[in-house]
């Protein structure tokens, strides 16, 4: 039963990451990304998936999907029906699942996914076909079903032969972070021993045009926290994590990639698309996440900022980091990896958790190459060159439309 839950006695459980998979414009897999993020490589190109000629911006972190899919229990017919987003999700899940060494069993395995768009490209195709002067229903039922995020969840269950409760969180650009945070809480409070969690979103014409209509897209190149920043760049991809209770992971000698120790969540009610200028909700989430992790800002060795590159977001986030870090701000390295891969919307939070895990394991900081003129509002040092760094705790921020704010703390 989902309710009432079996009583859980004792203190909250530790939550380990034992598998991580990632696919973005930087490439596919942990190793390729660790190298790319460590060097601050940028992965933008003119969008090819849909026409952008009538828009202000034309670049995005678009990836080349492999022509095949990873091995799974999906039939060729199932695979043929997967859209771009579902394929990315499957790649990331396969890497995480394999890395964790999980195998199918009869025990329910909760699945938590964050997305803003699900299979949006199929939804777009449905509308285009539905509006034809002569109705043509061929393929329309498949588009309706596979457009919906719940079907991508079912595809994952089928691919890896598991079952369990599914939670699909659509909190705009904080969806991925909220998904990881929710999975963290399921284990921490004893509701599950392990959880498969991730975030995913593919580029789509509707969303690209949407951000363009808001004049939120950079027409040059995305440079978060630069004094002359002019907007964000969209990206696409997926990240999936295998989370386990410490005791469960130890019982099977699982390798730990890192630990999630804190989660903070708050709602900014200032405006549907604009943050409150002082970043009060961001301040609340960073404070809450650190309190739960039992650390102070002085113990955080790196902040992976939400850092979209829009004037309003970066100003509010800088204000929040300044206030949260206080006197420690001048010693706190901060960067936004959206400078490398763009803003992955519902995938961003999960992807940036993987970035933090990689940085913690490798003891380096991901730079924003080419950030020559930091915004003087930033009292903290921005990482602009590849840099080795000994540190134990990282914090990652995710904020979204609707005022969704989330922060996560990770430990090496």
């Amino acid at each position: 039963m989902l309710f009432p839950r079996p009583p859980h006695s004792g203190s909250p459980r530790r939550v380990l990451v034992t598998g991580a998979g990632i696919i973005t414009a930087l490439g596919r897999g942990w190793t390729e990304h660790a190298e790319g993020f460590r060097q601050g490589r940028r992965a933008f190109r003119p969008v090819r998936s849909f026409p952008v000629s009538g828009q202000r911006a034309t670049l995005a972190g678009e990836l080349d999907l492999p022509p095949h899919l990873p091995p799974s229990h999906l039939s060729p017919r199932d695979e043929a029906r997967l859209d771009r987003a579902a394929r990315m999700l499957l790649w990331a899940a396969h890497e995480a699942w394999t890395q964790a060494g999980w195998t199918p069993d009869d025990q329910p395995l909760p699945l938590v996914l964050g997305t803003t768009s699900g299979g949006m490209s199929l939804g777009e195709a449905f509308l285009r076909q539905a509006c034809l002067p002569q109705p043509n229903r061929r393929g329309q039922a498949t588009r309706v079903v596979h457009y919906q995020a719940q079907h991508q969840a079912l595809d994952l269950m089928k691919a890896f032969q598991f079952h369990g409760p599914t939670t699909i969180i659509a909190n705009a650009c904080a969806s991925g972070a909220n998904a990881v945070g929710h999975a963290f809480e399921l284990i921490r409070h004893g509701y599950a021993d392990r959880v498969l969690v991730g975030g995913y979103d593919a580029l789509s014409q509707l969303v690209f045009a949407g951000f363009d209509s808001l004049q939120a897209l950079s027409t040059t190149h995305c440079r978060p926290f630069a004094a002359d920043r002019d907007g964000l760049a969209l990206g696409e991809g997926a990240a999936v994590l295998c989370l386990e209770a410490d005791s469960f992971a130890r019982s099977r000698d699982a390798e730990r990639l890192g630990e999630i120790t804190g989660y903070g969540v708050a709602t900014d009610v200032h405006h549907l698309t604009q943050p409150q200028p002082d970043g009060l909700a961001a301040l609340a989430t960073m404070t809450a996440a650190c309190a739960q992790a039992g650390i102070t800002p002085e113990q955080v060795g790196y902040v992976n900022a939400h850092g979209t590159g829009t004037p309003l977001n970066d100003r509010a986030e800088a204000a929040a980091i300044n206030q949260w870090a206080g006197d420690w701000a001048p010693h706190l390295p901060v960067s936004s990896t959206k400078a490398s891969i763009g803003h992955l919307l519902g995938a961003a939070g999960a992807v940036e958790v993987v970035v933090c895990l990689q940085a913690l394991r490798g003891q380096w900081l991901p730079p924003e190459i080419g950030l020559d003129h930091p915004d003087p509002l930033c009292r903290f040092p921005l990482v602009t060159q590849p840099q080795d760094q000994a540190f134990t705790h990282a914090l990652t921020n995710s904020f979204g439309f609707g005022g969704a704010n989330a922060s996560l703390v990770l430990r090496r």
């Binding site: 989902l2 269950m157 939670t167 969180i169 409070h189 009610v269």
Partner: protein, 316 residues
């Protein structure tokens, strides 16, 4: 912290009208409500769908700046939520109670999404920036938080009719962890020609719109949430319509199918309406648990049980 969870209020916006009482009357009458035709493509026949009647006079809360240009799904969500909150709304707005907000949607702001994308297809450089922000799934939950001034937890869950049941389970977790003092769970949808076109492919019958909301509280109330079953996902692609195994065979149930002829197929809103109907039935059968069986259309099946508790103060 007690693990018991109670229903402190409920609200409905449906084709029967704005409020729980019109919903109850329509359900009792059992007659299909009036439908309207929605057309999408010129020259092609439209679809008959159930619509929510306009609210007259328009309540003051719908004049809030955040709701002025909002889509109908947001307005329905706020309408149902305000009814469910009842007197607690003032205490929440004054900061005396921490409110969590969970919205469940399937199509969400489909009307603005469809309109925006149609504008993009004609000329992307002139697509309206007023439409795009309302296309995000969490717009209704965000507007609701803004109208109430709630800066706490706020999630939007996507799924089929069962998403409302998931939302109740999440709300119960937040209450038992002491993260919130009340938790509002809202299921909401709006009608659009595009949704009707899609539903028509699956013989789901006329689509509908509206919202349903339950406010959950750890403090004793006349109705208790007694159980939420483990979900049964449709991994094989075949929805189940049999009784859920964790529901005792003798317990009365309310199904989505029972409401559909009267109110249409309301997706996530229908999940909420079924729970309200189960609560109404439970109130008539003190001591018995009545289950809403949410056999979703394409995700999973989940059951939610409610019981009337005789020894508490009268319901609002």
């Amino acid at each position: 912290m007690s693990n018991r969870v109670f229903i402190s209020g409920m609200g409905v916006v449906s084709p029967a009208g704005w409020g729980v009482e019109p919903f109850r009357l329509a359900r009792t009458a059992g007659q299909p409500l009036l439908r309207q035709e929605l057309t999408g493509v010129p020259g092609r026949p439209g679809y008959l769908v159930f619509r929510v009647p306009p609210l007259s006079p328009r309540p003051a809360y719908l004049s809030h700046a955040r709701l002025r240009r909002s889509s109908l799904v947001s307005q329905f969500a706020v309408g149902a939520a305000f009814e469910a909150l009842g007197d607690d709304r003032t205490r929440i707005q004054q900061g005396e109670l921490r409110l969590g907000v969970i919205a469940a949607v399937m199509s969400g702001g489909v009307n603005y999404s469809r309109r925006f994308y149609q504008e993009v297809l004609i000329q992307p450089s002139t697509a309206s920036p007023l439409l795009f922000p309302e296309t995000v799934f969490n717009a209704p939950a965000s507007h609701l938080a803004a109208v109430l001034g709630c800066t706490g937890r706020n999630y939007t869950l996507v799924g089929d009719q069962s998403a409302f049941g998931e939302g109740l389970a999440l709300a119960a977790d937040w209450l038992s962890q002491g993260l919130v003092d009340r938790c509002l769970v809202v299921g909401a949808e709006e009608s659009d020609w595009l949704t009707a076109e899609a539903a028509n492919l699956f013989d789901l019958g006329p689509t509908s719109e509206g919202a349903g909301a339950l406010c959950l509280s750890p403090e004793p109330q006349p109705i208790e949430l007694t159980g939420i079953t483990s979900p049964i996902p449709y991994v094989t692609g075949t929805p189940t319509h049999s009784n859920l195994p964790e529901i005792p065979a003798d317990d009365p149930t309310v199904s989505l199918a029972a409401l559909r002829p009267v109110l249409g197929e309301g997706f996530a809103a229908a999940g909420a309406w079924s729970c309200v109907a189960a609560i109404q039935d439970a109130a008539d059968q003190p001591g018995r648990t009545v289950w809403a069986q949410l056999h979703g259309s394409n995700h999973q099946a989940i059951g939610v049980g409610f019981r009337s508790v005789p020894s508490t103060r009268p319901s609002r």
